[in-house]
C-alpha cells in the first residue's frame, strides 16, 4: 500500500516537473527514470501503470504545445526560460533509450502523440507529427521484436497504446509497421489474454451464479461474484477499446504484404469461437428463448444483470465481424490467398 502511495506521488511530481524543466538533458533524464524506476513499475497491474504514463505524457505535451495566448502555468514563472516545443519533444525522445524494456517506450511516445493531437492543429508543425509517427512505429516494431508473444503484459500494452494512437498516424507511416508480428499479438491480447476476454471463461463462471429460485424462476443476482467479474471485464481498458482494436486488426489484415499470419489468425478465430460457443451452450441462460425470458427469469436478472451480459456479447460479436469481413475481402481480392481443403493456402 505504501508502495502505491509513493509511486503515485512520484508520478504526480514528475508530471509537474516535466513541463517546467529548462535543461533538455534533465528532461531526458527524467524520462529515462520514469521508464525504469522500480517504485513505479513494481506495482501489480502493469497495464494501469502504462495507462498512467500515457496520460502523464499526454497532459505534459498538451501543456507544452498549448497555444501561446492560453494561460498555462508555464507562464507563471516567466523568469525561467521554458523549453521551446521542439526541443522539449526531442529531449523526451532522447530519454526513451534502451535501458528499459521497449514496450514501455511505446507508452511515452503514445502519450506524446495523442497530446499533440490531430494534424490540422495550427500550432504544431508537420515535421513534428511525422517525427513522432515514425518514432512511435519504430518503438512498436522494436517492442514486438523484443518481447514476442510470450510476454503477456508487453503484448497487452502494445495493443492498448496502438488502439489509442492508431487514428492519428499517417497512412504512409502505418505501412512501416511489422504487420506479420502485429496481428497475432493483437489477437492474443484481445481474445486469449486474462486482461480481456480470456477465451470467454467468464461465461462458465456466470453459469455457476445462475440459481433456481422458487419453481421455474432462475436468478442471476447483481450481487453475485460472477456479475462483479463481468462488470470488471466491461470496465477493463482492453475491453473498452475492443472496437478500435478490431479496426486496427482489420487494417493489419488488409495491409499485410505476405499473408502468412492470416492462416494462423483464421484458425485462432475458429478456436476462440468454438471455445466461446461451448461455454455459452453450457451456460443455463442460453437455454432460455428470448420470448420466454419473462417467464423464467427474475426481475432483477432482467433489468440489471442480463442486459450487461448481452452488451458484452454484442461487443464481442461486432469485433469478430469487423475482423472477419476484412479477412474475407482479403481472401477474395488477393490472388495469392486461396482456400483449399477447408484451409487457407498462400501461394508464394
Amino acid at each position: 500500500m505504501r508502495m502505491l502511495l509513493i509511486a503515485e506521488r512520484l508520478l504526480q511530481s514528475a508530471a509537474t516537473l516535466l513541463t517546467l524543466l529548462t535543461n533538455p538533458l534533465n528532461v531526458a533524464l527524467l524520462t529515462t527514470q520514469l521508464l525504469s524506476a522500480p517504485a513505479i513499475w513494481r506495482r501489480p497491474s502493469g497495464l494501469t501503470t502504462s495507462l498512467r504514463l500515457l496520460s502523464l505524457f499526454n497532459t505534459a505535451s498538451r501543456q507544452v504545445f498549448a497555444a501561446p495566448h492560453s494561460s498555462s502555468f508555464r507562464d507563471v514563472a516567466p523568469e525561467r526560460k521554458a523549453l521551446v516545443n521542439k526541443d522539449w519533444l526531442l529531449a523526451v525522445i532522447k530519454g526513451v533509450d534502451g535501458k528499459s524494456p521497449r514496450w514501455r517506450h511505446v507508452c511515452v511516445l503514445a502519450g506524446l502523440r495523442t497530446g499533440i493531437g490531430a494534424r490540422n492543429t495550427l500550432t504544431v508543425a508537420e515535421s513534428l507529427h511525422e517525427l513522432l509517427d515514425n518514432a512511435f512505429v519504430v518503438a512498436v516494431n522494436n517492442a514486438m521484436l523484443e518481447s514476442g508473444l510470450e510476454d503477456d503484459l508487453a503484448c497487452n500494452v502494445v495493443t492498448l497504446m496502438l488502439s489509442h494512437v492508431f487514428d492519428f498516424i499517417d497512412y504512409r507511416t502505418k505501412r512501416k509497421l511489422q504487420h506479420d508480428l502485429l496481428l497475432p499479438i493483437l489477437f492474443q491480447s484481445c481474445f486469449f489474454s486474462k486482461n480481456c476476454l480470456h477465451s470467454g471463461y467468464f461465461l462458465s463462471v456466470i453459469d455457476a451464479g445462475v440459481v433456481q429460485r422458487n419453481g421455474l424462476t432462475f436468478e442471476w443476482s447483481a450481487q453475485s461474484s460472477s456479475f462483479k467479474q463481468l462488470q470488471q471485464l466491461s470496465r477493463a481498458p482492453l475491453f473498452g477499446n475492443l472496437g478500435s482494436i478490431s479496426r486496427v486488426m482489420a487494417y493489419t489484415v488488409e495491409a499485410m504484404r505476405t499473408p502468412g499470419a492470416l492462416a494462423k489468425t483464421v484458425s485462432d478465430l475458429a478456436v476462440f469461437s468454438r471455445c466461446f460457443h461451448v461455454q455459452w451452450r453450457q451456460n443455463k441462460l442460453s437455454e432460455i428463448d428470448i420470448s420466454e425470458e419473462h417467464t423464467f427469469l427474475s426481475h432483477e436478472t432482467l433489468t440489471t444483470s442480463l442486459p450487461l451480459l448481452w452488451q458484452t456479447l454484442r461487443s464481442v460479436m461486432f469485433a469478430l465481424i469487423v475482423i472477419l469481413s476484412s479477412v474475407l475481402s482479403r481472401a477474395i481480392s488477393d490472388g495469392r490467398v486461396t482456400i483449399e481443403n477447408g484451409g487457407f493456402l498462400i501461394t508464394p
Binding site: H277, W280, R281, S286, E287, I288, D289, I290, S291, E292, I339, G342
Partner: protein
C-alpha cells in the same frame, strides 16, 4: 464440392427433430438461410438426402411463435429446391406431399401472401419451359385441381392474419386492397388467378372458365370484387405474355368470359359490381 461439404458439416443434428435448445435452433436457422442460396449449385442427390430431411420437421409445425422464423426459412428452402430445373425428379416425387402440407398449414400458420407465392412457384416450376413438363405435362393441372377441390370445402370466414403480414400488405404495391380481411376461399381463388400466367396454353384455355366459376362461388361481394379486379389486372397488365394474352382476349370477348366473370351469383349484391371495364352482355 466445397458447398456440399460445408452444408454436410453444418446440417441440423439431431436428424429429423426440432431441437429444444435455442442455440441449436439458431444454428439450424443459419443452415436454412445459407442452404437457400446454395441450392443453385448443389447436386440433386445432395438436395434430396441432405436438405429435404433437414427441412421436413419444420414444414408442418403447429403455431409456435418461437419457431416461426425457422418455419418460414424451411419453406423457402423447400421452394428453392423444388423450383430448380435440375431437381425435376425431386419435384415430381414430392409435389403432392408438399401441396398437402401447404393446405394443412394454411391458414393458421401461413400468411395469404406466402401461400399464394408457394402455389405460384410450384405452378411455374411445373410448366414449360421447365424440363419436367415434357415428362409429366399434367402437373400444373393437378395442382389447380387440388385447389378447386379445396375451394369447394373452404370456409368463408375471415382468415386469422398476423399483424406483421397486415403491415406488409399495406405497404406492398402489388397486393390488392384489404388483403388482410379476405376469407380462405378468396385467397384460394386469388392463388388460382396468380397461377394463370404460367400455365401452358391448352391448360390455360381450360382453366379460365373454371377460375371464373370458382370466383362466382364467393358469396361476400366485396371480396368477390377484389378477386375480379385481380383477374382483370392479371389479364391486362402484362403479366401474361403475348400468346397467352391473345388467348385471354379471345376468351374474354368472343367466348363470353367477361360475362362469366362479371355476372354476380344470385346471392351477391348486384349493385356492388362496379368497375367492370368491358361491355357485358348480361341479362
Amino acid at each position: 464440392m466445397q458447398a456440399e461439404a460445408f452444408l454436410k458439416d453444418n446440417r441440423p443434428r439431431p436428424e429429423g427433430q426440432i431441437s429444444q435448445h435455442p442455440l441449436d435452433r439458431g444454428q439450424h436457422l443459419f443452415f436454412f438461410n445459407t442452404a437457400e442460396y446454395l441450392t443453385v449449385i448443389l447436386s440433386p442427390s445432395c438436395c434430396e438426402f441432405l436438405l429435404l430431411p433437414a427441412v421436413r420437421p419444420y414444414l408442418g409445425i403447429a403455431s409456435d411463435s418461437r419457431l416461426s422464423a425457422l418455419f418460414e426459412a424451411a419453406h423457402s428452402v423447400m421452394l428453392a429446391v423444388l423450383s430448380h430445373p435440375q431437381n425435376a425428379d425431386l419435384l415430381s416425387q414430392h409435389l403432392h406431399a408438399y401441396v398437402d402440407i401447404l393446405f394443412a398449414v394454411f391458414p393458421q400458420n401461413l400468411s395469404p401472401r406466402q401461400f399464394r407465392f408457394g402455389i405460384k412457384t410450384l405452378v411455374r416450376a411445373t410448366s414449360p419451359p421447365a424440363a419436367i413438363f415434357d415428362r409429366q405435362p399434367l402437373l400444373p393441372s393437378t395442382i389447380l385441381e387440388l385447389l378447386y377441390q379445396r375451394i369447394a370445402t373452404a370456409s368463408e370466414a375471415e382468415t386469422p392474419c398476423k399483424s406483421e403480414e397486415r403491415a406488409l400488405s399495406i405497404s406492398a404495391s402489388t397486393s390488392s386492397q384489404g388483403e388482410g380481411s379476405l376469407s380462405e376461399r378468396s385467397i384460394l381463388v386469388l392463388s388460382l388467378i396468380d397461377s394463370l400466367p404460367f400455365l401452358p396454353l391448352d391448360q390455360l384455355e381450360d382453366n379460365l372458365p373454371t377460375t371464373a366459376t370458382a370466383l362466382s362461388s364467393i358469396s361476400d361481394s366485396i371480396q368477390a370484387e377484389v378477386c375480379r379486379q385481380r383477374f382483370r389486372d392479371v389479364m391486362s397488365n402484362g403479366e401474361m405474355d403475348v400468346a397467352r394474352s391473345s388467348l385471354c382476349l379471345m376468351w374474354w370477348g368472343t367466348l363470353g368470359g367477361a360475362q362469366m366473370v362479371n355476372s354476380p351469383l344470385k346471392g351477391q349484391n348486384e349493385s356492388q359490381s362496379v368497375g367492370s371495364v368491358v361491355v357485358s352482355g348480361r341479362l
